[in-house]
C-alpha cells in the first residue's frame, strides 16, 4: 500500500492534468459558446494546480516509482514547471487568435492539456517505453492540433507532413530501442546504463542502436539532416500551434534527450558525441544561412530554431555536467525567446490577417513604439547580443564546449552567429528604419499585452541578472544525474 502511495504521489501532477483534461472535454458539452472563457480559465487553473502539486511534492532527492518506470527528480520538477509556465503564456497569447479563427473550442484546451501530459511523461520517464508513450501522446495531440482548423488546406497539409515524418522518426527511435534491448536485456534506463557499464555487449549492435536512437531524437529536435519537416510545419500550422511546437515542446524534447543520452547511454558518449557534433555544425550552417533567404517570418523562425538546436547540441556534445547545465539553460532561454517572438506575430495578427510575412513588421516603431521595443529585445536576445538572456545562453554552451576542448568548433560557431545576427537585424531594420505599410490599430486583450511585455522584458532582466536561472538549472541537473 505504501509503495502504491509513493507511486501515486510521484505521478500526481500527471494524474491531475489528465483528469482536468477530461473534465474540460466533458464540460465543453455543457457550456454555451458565449461562456467558453470558462474553459480557458479551467485550463489555467489546471496549470496552476499542477504547478502547486509539483512544488508541494518536490524534494531534492530522486524518487523512483512504478517499479522504476517513472522518476520524480529535481530535473523533472524544474522542467515541468517551465512547461506549465510556457503553456500558460501560450494559452494567454493565443486566445484572441483562435477565437477569430473558429478554433476556440473545448478540443483545443483538452488537446493542449493532453499534449502537456505527454510531455510530462517524457520528462519523467525512466523506461524506454514510458518515454516512448509520452512522446506518442504528445505527437498525436500535436498532429490533431495542427489540423484543428480543418478548412485550412495549408494546415491540413502541414499536419499530414508532420504525421508521416513524425511516424518515421518514431519508427527509427523504436528500432534503436529494440537494439538496445537486444544488447542489454532491459528497457529500464538505469538498468541499461549499469549493463553498459559492465561492457560485455556486442559493440556493433550498440553503435547501430545508438545511431537509430540519435536519429530519432534529432528528428524530434529538428536538427540537420532531419530538419525538413520543421519549416513546412512551422509555416503551415496556425500560428497559435506553431508557438506551442516552437517553444513548449522543445523543453520536453530536451528532457527526452537528457533521459536517453545523458542518463541511459552515457557510457556510449564517445559514440554519440561525434554524431551530435556533425549535427550541431550542420544545423548551425544550414539554419543560419537558409534563414537569410526567407520572406515568411514563421519560416525564418523555423530556420532560426534549427540553428538554435545546433547551439543546444554544442552544450550536449560536451557530455559533461557543465554541458548539460548549459544546454538546459539554453533551452529555457530559447523557450522564453520563442514565446515572445511568436507572441508578437499573434499580437499583430487580426481577423482575416496573419502577420506572418517579414514586411508585415514594417514601421512597427511608428505604429507602436512599445511593441517594437519588445520585439527589438527579443531579436537581439535571439542573436545573442548582451545585455539579454540570449547572450548568456550562447555564452554558457560555448564555454562548455570550450571546456570540453572544442576550440575550433567554438570559433566556427561564433562566426556563424554573426551570419545569424544578420536576419535578426533585418527585422529590427524593418521595424525601425522603414515606413509602415499598414496602419491598422493593434488591438489585443490587456492580459496578453501585459504578459507579452513581462515576457520580453524578462529577457532583458534575466540578461542582466542571469544568476538565479543558472542556479536553478545547475540544481536540477546536479541533483538528478549521477
Amino acid at each position: 500500500m505504501n509503495g502504491l502511495q509513493t507511486d501515486l504521489i510521484a505521478a500526481l501532477p500527471e494524474i491531475f492534468v489528465l483528469s482536468m483534461a477530461m473534465i474540460i472535454l466533458l464540460a465543453d458539452l455543457f457550456i454555451k459558446p458565449a461562456n467558453r472563457i470558462i474553459l480557458f480559465l479551467l485550463a489555467q487553473i489546471t496549470l496552476l494546480g499542477a504547478a502547486f502539486i509539483t512544488i508541494a511534492t518536490h524534494t531534492p532527492s530522486v524518487t523512483y516509482a512504478f517499479s522504476g518506470m517513472f522518476v520524480d527528480d529535481p530535473f523533472a520538477d524544474v522542467t515541468k514547471l517551465m512547461i506549465y509556465l510556457s503553456t500558460s503564456l501560450m494559452l494567454v497569447y493565443t486566445r484572441q487568435y483562435i477565437t477569430l479563427r473558429g478554433m476556440y473550442r473545448g478540443e483545443f484546451y483538452a488537446l493542449v492539456l493532453f499534449a502537456m501530459a505527454g510531455m510530462m511523461v517524457m520528462v519523467s520517464g525512466q523506461h524506454f517505453l514510458t518515454l516512448y508513450m509520452g512522446l506518442e501522446l504528445l505527437s498525436l495531440c500535436l498532429y490533431a492540433l495542427v489540423a484543428l482548423d480543418r478548412d485550412n488546406a495549408r494546415a491540413t497539409e502541414a499536419a499530414m507532413k508532420y504525421f508521416v515524418l513524425g511516424a518515421l522518426a518514431s519508427g527509427m527511435l523504436l528500432y534503436g530501442i529494440s537494439m538496445m534491448y537486444g544488447a542489454t536485456g532491459s528497457l529500464n534506463i538505469s538498468e541499461v546504463a549499469s549493463a553498459l557499464l559492465n561492457g560485455s555487449q556486442d559493440k556493433p549492435v550498440l553503435v547501430l542502436g545508438t545511431v537509430f536512437i540519435v536519429a530519432g531524437l534529432a528528428f524530434k529536435l529538428g536538427a540537420v539532416p532531419f530538419q525538413m519537416w520543421v519549416p513546412d510545419v512551422y509555416e503551415g500550422s496556425p500560428t497559435a500551434i506553431t508557438l506551442f511546437i516552437g517553444s513548449v515542446t522543445k523543453l520536453a524534447a530536451f528532457a527526452f534527450v537528457i533521459r536517453i543520452l545523458a542518463q541511459g547511454l552515457f557510457v556510449l558518449a564517445i559514440d554519440w558525441q561525434g554524431m551530435l557534433m556533425i549535427m550541431a555544425v550542420l544545423s548551425i550552417i544550414i539554419g543560419n544561412i537558409t534563414a537569410i533567404a526567407q520572406t515568411n517570418l514563421k519560416r525564418m523562425f523555423a530556420y532560426s530554431t534549427i540553428s538554435h538546436v545546433g547551439f543546444l547540441l554544442f552544450g550536449l556534445m560536451s557530455a559533461s555536467l557543465n554541458g548539460y547545465i548549459s544546454s538546459m539553460f539554453y533551452i529555457v532561454a530559447y523557450a522564453l525567446m520563442s514565446l515572445a517572438g511568436f507572441g508578437m506575430i499573434l499580437l499583430l495578427s487580426r481577423k482575416g490577417f496573419e502577420a506572418e510575412e517579414l514586411v508585415d513588421l514594417k514601421g512597427l516603431n511608428q505604429r507602436s513604439p512599445w511593441f517594437a521595443f519588445l520585439m527589438l529585445i527579443t531579436m537581439f536576445s535571439m542573436a545573442g547580443v548582451p545585455p539579454t538572456l540570449g547572450f548568456y545562453a550562447k555564452f554558457a554552451v560555448l564555454q562548455a564546449a570550450l571546456q570540453a576542448g572544442f576550440l575550433w568548433l567554438v570559433v566556427f560557431a561564433v562566426l556563424m552567429a554573426v551570419i545569424g545576427a544578420f536576419y535578426y537585424l533585418r527585422i529590427v531594420k524593418l521595424m525601425y528604419f522603414d515606413e509602415p505599410a499598414d496602419h491598422s490599430p493593434i488591438i489585443n486583450p490587456p492580459e496578453m499585452n501585459m504578459l507579452l511585455s513581462v515576457n520580453a522584458l524578462g529577457l532583458l532582466f534575466l540578461g542582466i541578472m542571469p544568476q538565479r536561472l543558472m542556479d536553478i538549472c545547475a540544481y536540477a541537473i546536479a541533483h538528478s544525474l549521477q
Binding site: 516603431n365 513604439p369 527589438l376 537581439f380 547580443v385 548582451p386 545585455p387 547572450f391 548568456y392 555564452f395 560555448l398 564555454q399 570550450l402 571546456q403 576550440l407 567554438v410 570559433v411 561564433v414 562566426l415 552567429a417 554573426v418 545576427a421 544578420f422 537585424l425 533585418r426 529590427v428 531594420k429 525601425y432 528604419f433 542571469p466 544568476q467 543558472m470 542556479d471 545547475a474
Partner: protein
Amino acid sequence: MSSLPILSLAIWVPVFAGVLVLLTGDDKHASSARWIALLGSLIAFAVTIPLYTGFNFADGGFQFQEGYNWIPTFNIHYHLGVDGIAVPLILLTSFTTVLVVIAAWEVIQKRVAQYMAAFLIMSGLMIGVFSALDAILYYVYWEAMLIPMFLVIGVWGGPNRVYATIKFFLYTLLGSLLMLVAFIYLFYQTNSFEVVDYYRLPMTLPVQILVFLAFFMAFAVKIPMWPVHTWLPDAHVEAPTGGSVVLAAIALKLGGYSFLRFAMPIAPDAAHYLSGFMITLSLIAVVYIALVALVQQDMKKLIAYSSISHMGFVTLGFFIFNSIGLEGAVVQMISHGFISSAMFLSVGVLYDRMHSRQIADYGGVVNTMPKFAAFAVLFAMANAGLPGTSGFVGEFMVILGALQKNFWFAFLASTTLILGAAYTLWMVKRVFFGEIANVHVDELLDINRRELLILGTLAILVIGFGVYPQPITEMTHATVAQFLDHMAITKLPAGI
C-alpha cells in the same frame, strides 16, 4: 577619496536619464524630451568630474574601484575601476554627450525622445567599457553599446543608412565574438574573468599570439586599422551628425583603450613579437589613408578617412613601447575626440542649411558665414596638426617617440603633417574661400547662438590643450610608466 560609487553613477545616471527621456513618448512632448536629455547629460557630466578632482596622480594602478559578485557560477564580478588612461576618456565621453544633445536641439525633429535616449544610454554604456575590470562586464557594455548606435545610424541616417548600419554592426560583432572566445579561453586558464588575473597569467608565445590576434580582430575593427576600416567611412557618411560625433570622438577610442587594457598587457610577448606588423599597419593607415582622404568629394568621408589616419598615430604610439610615444597616443586620442567632434559638427552646420555634403556644392562660404568660417578654419588647422592646437601635441609626441625607435618610422609618420595639411586645407579652400559658388551659398545664414556655444567651447578646448596639455599628461604619466614596466617583463613560462 569619496565613498560614493562614482563610477556606477557615471554609468547609470545617463542610462537612467535615457529611460526617463523615452518615457516622454512621442513627438508631441519633444521639448520636454530635449530638456530632460540636456539636464540628464549635464548631471551625468557633473558626476564624472570627481574622477578628475579626486584622482591620485601618483598612483598608476586602478582607482575608484567597486566590486560585487555578479554571476558566481562563472566567477563574474561587477568590478569597476579606472586608471590614468581611462579617466580622460570617461570625461571626454560625458562631455561629448552634452554637446551631442545640444547639437541635436533643433536639427532632430523626428522621434526626438528616442534619439536623445539612444545617445544618453550609449554614453553610459561607453563609460562602462572604459571602467569595467571584469572581462564579461566589459564585453556586455562593449556589445550593448552597438544596439543604440545601430538604431541611431539606421533611423536618423542618410539615404544609404541601412547598408551602412548593418555593415557597422556585423563588422564589429565579428571581431568581438572572437574576443569572447579568447575571454572564455583565459577563464579556463585562470578560473576568473578578472582582468588583473589575466595580467599575471604566464602563456607560451604561440598561445599569446592567438590570444593577441583574437583581441586584435575586435579592436582593430573598432579603431579602425587598415585594412578593416571600410565600415567607418560608410557609417560616418550615413550617420546623423550626433552619430558621427560619438563614433569619431568616443567609439574609436574604445578600440584604442582596449588595446592598452587587454591585448597588450595580457599578451606582452606577442605584442612585442607582432609590433613590426602593428607598426606597419599603423603607418599604412597614416600615409595611405591620408592619400585616400585627399581625393574625397564628400566632406564627411574626408573627415572619416582623416580619423582613420589619425588613429594610425595612436596605434603607432602604442607599439613603439616608450613613454613619450604612449603618452602622445593618449593625448592624441583625447585631442582627436575634440577635433573630430568639431569637424563633424561643422559639417553638420553646413548640412543643416544646404542638405549637401559634397565639396563641389560649396564655395565662398566665408562671405556669407564669416563667424562660422573662422571656427572651421581653426578646427581644420588643428586637424592638420598646427602647433598651438591640441592636434599638434599628440602627433609631435608620437613622432618623437618613433624617432627614438627608428628614424624611418618617424619620417613616414611625419608625412602626415604635410598630407594632413593638404587634404584639410584644400577642402577648406574649396568650401570656404573663393567666389560665392551658387545662390544657395548666397542665402546661407551665419551660426546661431546654440551653434556658437558648441563650436566656441570646442575651440577653447582645442587651443587650451594645445597650449597646456599638462592635465592629460600628468594624469596618464604614472599609469603609462607602470604599463611600460609591465610590458617589459616577459610572461613566457620559465624554461622555454
